[in-house]
């Protein structure tokens, strides 16, 4: 295998490439390369496989040295690993991206209207579009914040929406992440690494830039500052250096030129938030918090939280400090509520959803439950409030013991389970063992909602590096790719 690779240029290896019947990003359903991948194939064909491997190795070393890493669970030495990075970029033509962009803006708009509604008039419940019990039983519904006015009426300021393509190549929304979505630092670092490794390609192919993300994020955070503050001080609140996303927190803070603070750095006095500096207390106006609601303020939520700031919620309620994202957005991440997003779009915007959901069954609806229990071996079952590939049953790949375990769980707590058909995610040529093979991918664009919604072209393409695997999460053998949105369509 390796010998073969050495004797052949990379491009000709692609000639033997086989997508095994899945929809392929580079080849579609045919064997001819799609027009927007033509130039990339040309460039790759001038590289030998061993050159490609050398570039990949150089990028890995650079990531390790720069500490673009995440912590490995349970390793007593605290070894940090890089998030595996595949050098074959995923390409999206301009026209396709425009459609995705419109679909994502539509979705974030509807989600924000929904959150404002359920924390105020609850008209969508009164009109019978969503049954009240689904909202009220939501683990992340914060009834304490009903009738609370959030700055500029925005709830989800930063959203990571996971998109997949099915066997026909149609885009679908898999889930919305409206609490502390993370991964954008990899989008930025992957692009930098690609520019170093293949600087010639960018000019000839025409790739839209992503590096303005931190400025857009900062602009959004400044926009939501409490009224009357001429020069708002924005900080990023991190759980601390032990958090898996700590690298991203420091990265974003540095790019925005703002302070990164831990809960113990902040202090509340007379409903105003201050940070403890060597020159005494300094006021803080906007907090980009990467801390869950539960941990924000031990006097309001979890009493044992050591990461939060006593009195923070009081200052927030008094309107003296703004939080992004707002409190209570977790209800929109609930996979049961996800089921209703297409209805929200029709209800609030009077539009058809541009990007559809994956067909979903609710275990708490009797007919659906019956169907789910009868088809556990064919469905993907998910807990309503888990992420990262946890709390999930992949029916077709599960053992009968696992299926029975989920049957019990679903029957015991139907409100907290949904099921979806197993979607054959699209494939993408990926460099493995000296050649290219198809691996399943998804896409997480990052949507910023300030004065208006802004989406940096592309997002994080995650790839399931294990052969045949449909799980792109890094805890389960996932990696990432750079995502190129073209200026044109080829």
């Amino acid at each position: 295998m390796t010998l073969l690779a050495k004797s052949k240029p990379a491009g000709s290896l692609l000639a033997d490439y086989n997508a095994n019947g899945f929809f392929d990003e580079m080849f579609g359903r045919e064997s001819d390369v799609l027009p927007h991948y033509e130039k990339l194939r040309g460039a790759l064909s001038r590289l030998a496989a061993e050159e490609f491997a050398a570039k990949r190795h150089a990028v890995d070393i650079a990531f390790l040295r720069q500490g673009v890493t995440f912590n490995v669970y349970g390793d007593s030495r605290g070894a940090e690993r890089i998030f595996p990075f595949d050098l074959v970029p995923r390409i999206i033509p301009a026209k396709e991206w425009e459609l995705l962009e419109r679909g994502l803006v539509q979705r974030i708009t509807a989600l924000n209207l929904f959150l404002h509604d359920i924390y105020h008039q609850q008209q969508i419940i009164k009109d019978g579009v969503i049954p009240a019990h689904y909202i009220l039983s939501g683990k992340h519904f914060r009834r304490e914040f009903v009738n609370f006015e959030v700055p500029k009426d925005i709830y989800i300021h930063v959203c990571g929406t996971d998109l997949i393509r099915n066997e026909k190549g149609e885009y679908m929304v898999l889930e919305d992440n409206g609490r502390c979505p993370s991964g954008v630092s990899y989008v930025l670092e992957n692009r930098r690494a690609m520019k170093r490794a293949f600087h010639g390609m960018f000019e000839s192919i025409g790739v839209q830039p992503v590096d303005h993300y931190p400025q857009e994020l900062l602009r959004m955070l400044q926009y939501i500052a409490p009224p009357g503050v001429a020069y708002p001080r924005v900080v990023l609140l991190t759980p601390g250096a032990c958090n898996s996303a700590y690298f991203e927190h420091t990265y974003l803070a540095r790019q925005m030129g703002i302070e990164i603070v831990e809960g113990r750095d902040l202090f509340v006095q007379d409903e105003h938030v201050f940070m403890r500096t060597t020159k005494g207390l300094q006021p803080v106006h906007v907090i980009y918090r990467r801390l869950d609601d539960d941990f924000l303020d031990p006097t309001v939520f979890r009493r044992d939280s050591m990461l939060g700031v006593p009195g923070l919620i009081g200052a927030y309620r008094a309107g003296n400090v703004s939080l992004a994202n707002s409190i209570g957005t977790g209800i929109a991440d609930d996979k049961v509520i996800y089921y209703f997003v297409p209805r929200m779009i029709e209800y609030y915007l009077d539009q058809k959803p541009i990007i559809p959901n994956v067909p979903t069954y609710l275990a708490s609806e009797e007919a659906d439950l019956k169907y789910i229990l009868a088809n556990l071996d064919r469905l993907v079952v998910k807990a309503a409030n888990e992420s990262g590939g946890y709390g999930m049953l992949m029916g077709p790949k599960a053992s009968s013991a696992e299926i029975e375990e989920f049957r019990n769980r679903v029957e015991a707590d139907p409100r907290n389970y949904i099921a979806q058909p197993m979607i054959s995610l699209s494939c993408h040529p990926t460099f493995v063992e000296g050649g290219f093979e198809g691996r399943h991918i998804d896409l997480r664009p990052f949507i910023l909602y300030g004065e208006k919604p802004v989406i940096v072209p592309g997002g994080l393409t995650r790839v399931a590096l294990r052969k045949g695997s449909l799980v792109v999460n890094s805890s389960q053998g996932g990696g990432s790719k750079d995502t190129w949105v073209l200026y044109g369509d080829e």
Partner: protein, 348 residues
């Protein structure tokens, strides 16, 4: 700046300086061993224990190792991860502090420190130590000096930078005073020694070399090595960047840049004590110090340094550290689900 950040910058510099000092003192003393004929167990202990005591770990070493073989000393002072003053532990702690203030330090500094961290933990590091200890120690020294140079030449000299300077100088003062104390057992309790044996002279030379001071020393005192000169040079010299007086001057300067309070005044105990120690060094002679007893004098100096460190902590940092922050907080930090690909890990 954030108190917590100031604290991390201060400790980052201290640990880098500490690692470099361990490298230097071990390198010199390993080479010194080559000048002696084969030493027996007792002589090896006599050679190494005072050196181990420069990090204050003599008792911990004796409890763990039967004999003071070169291998045992190196293992303990260089690689042992459960010795928090070992070279590798120091690098890890420097890097951990840097990680907590990633946003505050230049990319080049971070990359170099991270490279050093990855290196000292790699099998190549042990291999290199095994093949040529001097090459290994040079690697550490070069990296430390590169970090100091990067910090000086690429980092804005703002408040945070002065905190890192304060950390560097307080650590270096402490190390120089401890290195100078290595041969105190060969000195009378009070006054200057009458004669200096050949072995003693070699030992005092090693002390000078451990401070990278040999060339500078020779240019002032010639080739003759006498404890009087060595002590005068390493304690009171105004211009040598590793002398106690120079370093206390640097510390005092850093403290004044942090507070903005001019020379001859003070706004907190740290400045008061640093200014007082500097004045004492400026207006002392080496004869007076030997009269007092070199060992006692160095002891007192270390106590004063600790007091300065404590006072700084109280003035600038203290309020950011409330009790009970450790174990449970770590669990909660990990528990915070960031909605993404990389999954929760655990801190070292």
């Amino acid at each position: 700046m954030l108190s917590r950040v100031a604290n991390s910058l201060y400790w980052m510099s201290r640990y880098i300086e500490r690692a470099e000092n361990i490298a230097r003192i071990l390198d010199v003393n390993l080479q010194l061993l080559l000048d002696y004929r084969s030493l027996n167990d007792a002589q090896m202990r006599e050679h190494w224990l005072p050196i181990i005591q420069t990090t204050g770990d003599r008792d911990a070493f004796v409890a763990r190792y039967q004999s003071a073989s070169t291998e045992a000393v190196a293992e303990f002072m260089v690689f042992a991860s459960d010795n928090q003053n070992s070279l590798v532990s120091s690098v890890c702690q420097a890097r951990e502090n840097a990680r907590m203030v990633r946003d505050q330090i230049a990319v080049e500094t971070w990359v170099e420190l991270n490279r050093l961290y990855l290196f000292v933990q790699s099998p190549q590091a042990r291999q290199m130590w095994h093949d040529s200890p001097t090459d290994f120690f040079n690697e550490i020294k070069a990296s430390s000096l590169q970090l100091i140079g990067l910090s000086y030449a690429t980092h804005i000299h703002n408040e945070g930078w002065w905190f890192s300077q304060a950390g560097k100088f307080i650590e270096r003062t402490d190390q120089t005073s401890r290195i100078l104390d290595i041969r105190h057992h060969s000195l009378p309790a009070r006054g200057l020694p009458q004669t200096v044996s050949q072995t003693d002279a070699l030992g005092w030379t090693a002390i000078v070399r451990s401070c990278s001071a040999w060339d500078a020393y020779k240019s002032i005192y010639g080739g003759e090595v006498h404890p009087r000169h060595v002590a005068e040079f390493l304690l009171l010299n105004e211009d040598f960047p590793r002398s106690v007086r120079f370093c206390v001057g640097g510390l005092n300067d850093a403290l004044r840049h942090i507070s903005g309070v001019s020379e001859g005044r003070f706004s907190n105990d740290g400045e008061k004590l640093a200014g007082r120690l500097l004045a004492e060094l400026q207006f002392s002679t080496v004869e007076e110090i030997f009269e007092y007893g070199l060992h006692d004098y160095l002891d007192q100096t270390q106590i004063k340094l600790n007091a300065i460190g404590d006072a700084m902590f109280k003035a600038y940092i203290f309020h950011a550290f409330l009790p009970g922050q450790d174990g449970e907080a770590r669990v909660q930090q990990e528990e915070q689900q960031q909605q993404t690909a990389p999954q929760p890990g655990r801190c070292a």
